[in-house]
C-alpha cells in the first residue's frame, strides 16, 4: 500500500538554524498520526514542509506516492489548520462565507444545496452554529479556531494537517471536541497529521504517535508502544508521567539489570543496553507503584515519608518524600485512597516496571539532568 504521506530523509533549516534532521515518517490512508514534542522541537516546521510552505534543504515529501518537490501549495491539495488562523479568516465576511470560500477554492464540483448541508453539519459538529452570520472579529479565539477548522474540513481532502487545532478552547469544550475529532476523522477517512503539546489528547486520538526532539524523530509507534516500550529515556519521560532517577548499572543477568540509585539498589529491565558500569536513567510509572501492605511482595521496595495526597475524583495522587534527599516521588492509585498517618510507609514496584535506559535520546546533547527536569 502506498502511504498518504511519506517523508524521506528530510532536513530543513530556518534562519540558518537546522530545525529538522533526517526525518523519516509514513502516514497511511485513513490513519490518525499525532506528532508530540517539546516546544521548539520542529513539530510545526514538519507540517509546513509537507504542505509546501517551507522548502527542505534535502530529502523528499511523497504524497500518495508522488514526489511533491515540484508541486505548489494548492497543487498538493492538503487541508491544513495552522496556529496563525486569525490571519487567514476574512474579517469582513460571515462565518458561513468564510467556510464556503474553502470549498469554492477547491476543484470539487458540488451544488449549492450540498454545500449548505456540509457547512451546517460542520457548524453543528463544532458547536458554532450560532455564529453562522457573524464576522470572525466578533468571535472568541476558540470560535475562530473552529471556523478555520470547518473551512479546511469542508474540503474533505485526503490529507489533513492540523497544528494544535483545539489549543484555544476552554477545558470542557476541548474534551468534547477531542471526541468529535475522532468522529470527524472516522467520517472523512482522511490521513490526519496532528500536532499537539497536550499528551492526554495525543494518547487519546492517535493511531500512531511520533515523538520529535530537537528536530529528530525519537520514536514512532502506537500510543501503547511508546508508553510501555519507550526506545529512550527521553520518550519515557516525555510520554505520560514517571518518577526518574540517575542510575548506574552494576550487574546484568539474562533480562535484568541491577542498578545503583539514590533509592539504593534496584532491580530493573534494561531497555536499550546491557553494559555494566553504564550510567543512565531509571524510570517508574506512578500507577505501577504499590503503597502500604501490597508493597512488600514487590521486587523493589523503599521506605518513604508520606508528604500529602490529592484526591482527583478518578484517581488519588500520593506524594512521598525520599529520606535524606528530600526529593519526592508520585504514586497514583485508582479512586480514593487514604494513606495511614505514619512517619514512614513502604512503597514497592516490580522489576518489569522499572525501566533502565543507557541511551538517553537520539540527540547526543541530552543529559540526565535535563531529563529529570521534564
Amino acid at each position: 500500500m502506498t502511504a498518504a504521506i511519506r517523508v524521506d530523509s528530510l532536513d530543513l533549516s530556518f534562519r540558518n538554524e537546522t530545525v529538522l534532521r533526517d526525518v523519516n515518517l509514513e502516514v497511511d490512508d485513513g490513519e490518525f498520526c499525532v506528532v508530540l514534542g517539546p516546544s521548539g522541537s520542529g513539530k510545526s516546521m514538519l507540517l509546513k514542509s509537507i504542505v509546501g510552505l517551507e522548502t527542505p534543504d534535502s530529502g523528499w515529501v511523497f504524497l500518495d506516492g508522488e514526489d511533491a518537490s515540484e508541486l505548489s501549495v494548492p497543487e498538493r491539495n492538503i487541508g491544513f489548520v495552522f496556529q496563525e488562523f486569525e490571519e487567514t479568516l476574512f474579517p469582513h465576511r460571515s462565518v458561513e462565507e468564510n467556510i464556503a470560500f474553502g470549498l469554492e477554492q477547491s476543484d470539487i464540483d458540488i451544488d449549492g444545496d450540498e454545500m449548505d448541508r456540509r457547512i451546517d453539519d460542520l457548524l453543528e459538529l463544532l458547536a458554532i452554529s450560532d455564529t453562522k452570520d457573524d464576522a470572525p472579529p466578533e468571535l472568541s479565539g476558540g470560535q475562530q479556531q473552529r471556523v478555520e477548522l470547518a473551512r479546511q474540513l469542508v474540503r474533505r481532502c485526503g490529507i489533513m494537517l492540523l497544528d494544535d487545532p483545539l489549543a484555544d478552547l476552554d477545558y470542557k469544550l476541548q474534551k468534547r471536541m477531542e471526541i468529535e475529532m475522532r468522529r470527524i476523522h472516522d467520517d472523512l477517512d482522511s490521513a490526519f497529521l496532528y500536532v499537539t503539546h497536550n499528551q492526554d489528547q495525543a494518547l487519546k486520538l492517535a493511531d500512531k504517535l511520533v515523538v520529535l526532539n530537537d528536530g529528530r524523530v525519537e520514536q514512532v509507534g502506537t500510543p501503547s508502544e511508546l508508553y510501555h516500550e519507550p526506545d529512550s529515556a527521553f520518550v519515557a519521560r516525555f510520554i505520560g508521567d514517571s518518577n526518574a532517577f540517575k542510575a548506574t548499572s552494576v550487574e546484568t543477568t539474562a533480562d535484568r539489570v541491577r542498578v545503583e540509585t539514590e533509592l539504593g539498589a534496584l532491580l530493573a529491565t534494561p531497555m536499550n543496553g546491557m553494559a555494566t558500569d553504564a550510567e543512565g536513567l531509571v524510570t517508574i510509572r506512578p500507577e505501577h507503584i504499590a503503597i502500604g501492605k501490597d508493597a512488600s511482595a514487590k521486587d523493589n521496595t523503599v521506605e518513604v515519608a508520606p508528604a500529602g495526597e490529592t484526591y482527583m475524583g478518578e484517581t488519588t495522587e500520593i506524594a512521598v518524600e525520599i529520606p535524606d534527599s528530600g526529593r519526592q516521588m508520585i504514586v497514583v492509585e485508582p479512586g480514593q485512597t487514604t494513606v495511614p498517618e505514619a512517619e514512614t510507609v513502604q512503597i514497592g514496584w516490580d522489576a518489569t516496571d522499572t525501566q533502565f535506559f543507557e541511551k538517553l535520546s537520539v540527540t547526543e546533547t541530552v543529559r540526565t539532568d535535563d531529563l529529570l527536569e521534564i
Binding site: 487519546k204 508528604a307 519526592q328 485508582p334
Partner: protein, 395 residues
C-alpha cells in the same frame, strides 16, 4: 524546610482548621453596571489550598481582587484572621499576590527580587537574612541568586515569584491563574511543585483557575462559581461526589446525566425510583434538600460519574447501549463512548471509564451501576432560569 513550617506555626494566632478568611455577602458592581459578583459568602480554613473555579466571566477574578483590595467593593465584608479588612489599603492587608507570568522585576537579580519587599518591612537584619536563606533553600534557588529573571526557566521563575511573596510571611497568598499559558508537561510539573511548597509552608493559598483538573489536583477546598454566584463550596471530595447542582456535577469532572420522573421511594426514602426514557433506575436520595415524600412525581435528574459505571449486568441499574467508540489510553484505562436508545426516538450519549484496558466485542454492551453512585440533582443551578438541557448539558 522544617524550620519554615515551625515558624509559621508560631507566627499564626489560630489553629489549623479555623477560618482565616470570611467573605460575607460580597457584591461588586462595576461602573458600567455589570454585576460581577452578587452577595456571595464563603470562608477558608487556615492553611488550606482553596481554588476558585468557574467559566470565564463567573466572577472568580473579581472575588480574588476584592480580597486583595484592588478596588472598593459595592457591598459586603472581607475578614482576615478576625479583622475586617474591607476598607483597608491593599499594602496593609498582609496578603501576597502571584500573577500570571509572575511579573518579576526584570532589572533586579533573583536575590534582589526576593529582598525587595523585605527591605520595606523594617525588620532586624538577622531576621531578614534568616528569611532569605530559608526561602532560597526551600525553593532550591541557591545557585541562581545572581541570575536575571530573563535567564530563568519558567519553573525557576515560579519559585522566585513564590519566594518573593512568601518571604513577607503573609497570612494569605493569592494566585491568579499563574500556570495559564504553559505547555502541558510543564504545567503538570509546576502544579506538583506548588503543592509541595504549600505543604511545606502551611500558608493559606487562594488560587483562581478555569481548569477543573487543576482544581481537583490542587484544592483542599473548591469554590465553584457561576454567573456571579457560588454554586457550591466544599472539599474536592464533596464537590465531586456530592454535587449541589447539575451545573457542579458537569463542570467539575465528567458526568452522565439522566432526566426522569420520580415514581416511588424505597429504603425509607433513602432511594428513589426514577422513570426515564431508558428504563427505570434506582438513585440515591441521600443528599436531597426536600423531604423524600415531596419528590414523588417530580422531575429530578440524576448523575453518575463515568468511572463508577462498570461492564456488568449484576448491578442495581443496568442499561444496554450501542458502542460508538472505544478509546484506549495507556496509563489511564479505557473510555467507552456509548449511545442509549430511549423508548421514543430519543438517544443519549454516555461515557464509561474503566481502569483496565478493555476491547469489548460486538456492537452493544450492557453497563451497570449501583444506586449509591447515582446522585439526584434537585437543583440545576443557583442561577435562576438556567435550562438543564440547553445551558448545562450543551456547550
Amino acid at each position: 524546610m522544617a524550620t519554615a513550617k515551625k515558624r509559621n506555626d508560631e507566627q499564626t494566632d489560630g489553629e489549623k482548621g479555623d477560618a482565616i478568611v470570611e467573605v460575607r455577602d460580597l457584591t461588586k458592581v462595576y461602573p458600567d453596571g455589570t454585576v460581577a459578583v452578587e452577595e456571595i459568602s464563603f470562608s477558608i480554613d487556615r492553611g488550606d489550598f482553596c481554588v476558585l473555579i468557574g467559566p470565564s466571566g463567573c466572577g472568580k477574578s473579581t472575588t480574588l481582587h476584592s480580597m486583595v483590595g484592588k478596588f472598593p467593593v459595592t457591598g459586603g465584608t472581607v475578614t482576615l484572621d478576625g479583622e475586617d479588612i474591607t476598607d483597608t489599603e491593599t499594602h496593609e492587608r498582609d496578603i501576597g499576590l502571584v500573577f500570571q507570568d509572575f511579573q518579576l522585576f526584570p532589572h533586579l537579580d533573583v536575590e534582589e527580587n526576593i529582598r525587595y519587599g523585605l527591605e520595606r518591612l523594617d525588620l532586624p537584619a538577622a531576621e531578614v537574612e534568616r528569611r532569605v536563606s530559608d526561602l532560597t533553600a526551600t525553593m532550591q534557588l541557591e545557585g541562581l541568586l545572581e541570575r536575571a529573571p530573563e535567564e530563568l526557566s519558567a519553573g525557576q521563575k515560579q519559585r522566585v515569584a513564590l519566594a518573593r511573596s512568601l518571604v513577607l510571611e503573609p497570612k494569605l497568598l493569592l494566585l491568579d491563574e499563574p500556570l495559564g499559558d504553559m505547555d502541558y508537561k510543564l504545567q503538570k510539573r509546576m502544579e506538583r511543585e506548588l503543592l509541595r511548597i504549600h505543604r511545606e509552608f502551611e500558608t493559606t493559598f487562594v488560587y483562581v483557575t478555569h481548569d477543573q483538573t487543576q482544581a481537583m489536583r490542587l484544592a483542599d477546598q473548591i469554590v465553584v462559581m457561576n454567573d456571579g454566584k457560588i454554586e457550591q463550596s466544599g472539599t474536592s471530595h464533596e464537590v465531586y461526589n456530592e454535587p449541589a447542582t447539575a451545573f457542579v456535577a458537569t463542570f467539575v469532572g465528567d458526568s452522565d446525566i439522566f432526566t426522569g420522573t420520580v415514581v416511588g421511594l424505597s429504603d425509607d426514602g433513602a432511594r428513589a425510583r426514577i422513570e426515564t426514557e431508558y428504563g427505570r433506575f434506582l438513585a440515591s436520595a441521600a443528599n436531597l434538600e426536600s423531604e423524600p415524600a415531596e419528590i414523588v412525581g417530580a422531575e429530578i435528574p440524576f448523575s453518575v460519574r463515568p468511572q463508577y459505571i462498570e461492564l456488568s449486568e449484576d448491578k442495581e441499574n443496568t442499561l444496554k447501549c450501542e458502542i460508538l467508540d472505544v478509546i484506549n489510553q495507556p496509563g489511564a484505562g479505557t473510555q467507552l463512548l456509548l449511545k442509549a436508545h430511549g423508548e421514543t426516538d430519543v438517544v443519549s450519549d454516555l461515557q464509561v471509564k474503566l481502569n483496565e484496558q478493555v476491547d469489548p466485542d460486538g456492537e452493544t454492551v450492557t453497563v451497570g451501576w449501583d444506586a449509591e453512585v447515582a446522585t439526584m440533582l434537585e437543583r440545576t443551578s443557583v442561577v435562576p432560569d438556567i435550562d438543564l438541557e440547553k445551558d448545562v448539558l450543551g456547550e
